[in-house]
């Protein structure tokens, strides 16, 4: 099943099960979705539940949060999360903080979803990763699927969740196919929020990743295996809450950690994971934590520069080797 079909079927099933669920965003209806994620939904559920909006993120996000205050369950689609910055006040101040500020009276069962991070050749304003931005905010849940199983299970969980969820997809993964079991295809299938998945077991070094980088980490693990390094790959699935238990248990087993993300390095997801491991498992670390992230520059357009600005499989392999003292340590502030 492709990730696209996984998301589409999850939306379809949740809209079918609960009449309070509705979808709103640019091109989600008549155009069948900017990336065809909502294909067929307008025909099936009608214009009262699948709403095309003008290009005004601040407007329709605010409308969605207001509807959620009143008990509806909106799924707000951003054509990319770059455009969510137009609406970030509503995501943070109107949605994330309301439950706390109202001492629990107002719950905001809303999902904000769309593609996040780098695509291909779309330049600086269309390639930003917002995982660490949203994950720093209490009151939000932040999820990022990799496989079709993740996409289906996490989106269903997000829609059913009573709190605001930021659901970070990846444009380049939409067309990828993953095997799915019968259990995953069942309409009641759900993946728990806050639980990471160990995609590949290993004993020499832990590699954490989310979204597209999980695929890269798995490829790196294959290469490392040939060189006698057994890497354990953890698919975070949930950026907030972060599954610190699974990560720490893994590091206590392998004693070495490489964090991988596509976004900018400073204050990134890897920085938080490193802090968590230092706080809880310092005595178990046999090497400094290695952090692989996107380059600290706005995303360049030229193909060769873009390739250098985004982590590649070789970068993950090199970092894992450094953590295992198999290669020369990198100079600081490279």
């Amino acid at each position: 099943m492709t990730v696209r079909d996984a998301l589409n079927s999850a939306l379809d099933e949740e809209m079918s099960a609960d009449p309070k669920v509705f979808l709103m965003g640019e091109e989600v209806g008549e155009y069948q979705g900017a990336y065809k994620i909502s294909k067929g939904l307008l025909d099936k559920y009608g214009p009262e539940r699948v709403l095309d909006t003008p290009i005004t993120e601040a407007g329709f996000t605010g409308i969605g949060v207001g509807a959620a205050y009143h008990g509806l369950k909106p799924v707000i689609e951003f054509m990319t999360f770059n455009f969510s910055m137009q609406a970030i006040d509503h995501i943070i101040n109107s949605a994330a903080k309301s439950n706390y500020m109202s001492a629990g009276q107002i719950s905001v069962p809303i999902v904000f979803r769309g593609p996040n991070g780098a695509a291909a050749g779309v330049g600086a304003q269309h390639s930003h990763c917002y995982a660490s931005w949203y994950a720093s905010c209490p009151g939000l849940k932040v999820l990022s699927p990799y496989s079709s199983e993740d996409a289906r299970g996490l989106l269903k969980a997000a829609i059913r969740d009573p709190d605001p969820v930021v659901f970070l997809e990846n444009e380049l993964l939409y067309g990828e196919t993953f095997p799915v079991s019968a259990e995953v295809l069942d309409s009641s299938f759900c993946v728990p929020i806050g639980k990471a998945k160990i995609e590949r077991e290993g004993k020499d070094v832990t590699i954490t990743a989310f979204s597209k980088m999980v695929g890269y980490a798995l490829k790196a693990a294959e290469i490392l295996a040939k060189e006698g390094i057994s890497a354990e790959v953890i698919n975070l699935r949930s950026i907030r809450p972060l599954d610190r238990d699974t990560i720490n248990a893994s590091v206590r087993k392998t004693n070495r950690l490489v964090t991988v993300e596509e976004g900018f390095p400073q204050h990134g997801v890897g920085a938080e994971i490193c802090a968590s491991v230092v706080e809880e498992s310092f005595g178990y670390l046999d090497a400094p934590v290695e952090r692989i992230a996107g380059a600290d520059v706005p995303m360049p357009y030229a193909a060769n520069l873009e390739r250098l600005a985004v982590p590649q499989v070789e970068d993950i392999v090199r970092a894992a080797k450094r953590a295992c003292y198999r290669s020369v340590p990198m100079a600081a502030a490279a």
Binding site: E27, I55, G123, P300, Y301, A302
Partner: protein
């Protein structure tokens, strides 16, 4: 130029986004004829001909589109991010509508500096397949706002555009902002280009 860019895009020699200006040339040409390089222009992502009008060269354009160092943004910006500050062209913006308040800021600077120049902020319907009726509440853009007067212009006629821009510049220098709606007849019916200054 734009037809060539289209072919290059289809051949995947231009990556990412490529928003073409062909069919709307009268807007860039007419506008340039009415103003000077001291006036500022800012637009959205459909900026190839605007850049050309401001003095950009074909080499800079094609180099940028193909991600080469010789491009006007050294290959780092791509189709949507052409700039030529020396000639008063401030980009080239990817986020829909962002250039409008930025254009107001440019105008503010002109007024603050008392330099007898104006800023043109251009914005369109934002096609991308978003039909006009889905993209905006009221397509009579030139009637927008009780505070800002408006002009309706035939955007296919370069001379009409020139006269409109000349009038708009004089009005802006004397009395304040003016919104002009330029109608275009393009293969996708219902699109039009607007500018405020």
């Amino acid at each position: 130029m734009e037809i060539a860019a289209d072919s290059l895009y289809k051949a995947k020699l231009i990556r990412g986004f490529c928003h073409l200006y062909d069919g709307q040339e009268a807007v860039a040409v007419g506008m340039e004829a009415a103003i000077t390089k001291k006036d500022s222009i800012i637009t959205a992502y459909r900026d190839h001909c605007t850049f050309l009008g401001r003095g950009g060269t074909l080499l800079e354009i094609f180099s940028e589109l193909m991600g080469r160092q010789g491009g006007c943004s050294s290959g780092k910006g791509g189709s949507m991010h052409f700039y030529k500050k020396k000639s008063g062209f401030y980009g080239g913006h990817g986020i829909v509508g962002a250039q409008v308040p930025l254009g107001c800021g440019l105008a503010f600077a002109h007024k603050y500096n008392k330099d007898d120049a104006v800023a043109f902020a251009l914005y369109g319907d934002d096609g991308m397949g978003t039909a006009e009726w889905r993209a905006a509440k009221s397509p009579s853009y030139y009637k927008r706002g009780d505070y800002v007067p408006g002009l309706k212009v035939d955007g296919m006629d370069a001379f009409a555009v020139k006269q409109a821009c000349k009038f708009a510049k004089e009005h802006a220098l004397k009395s304040g902002p003016i919104d002009s709606s330029l109608s275009l007849r393009l293969p996708d019916p219902g699109q039009s280009e607007h500018f405020t200054e």
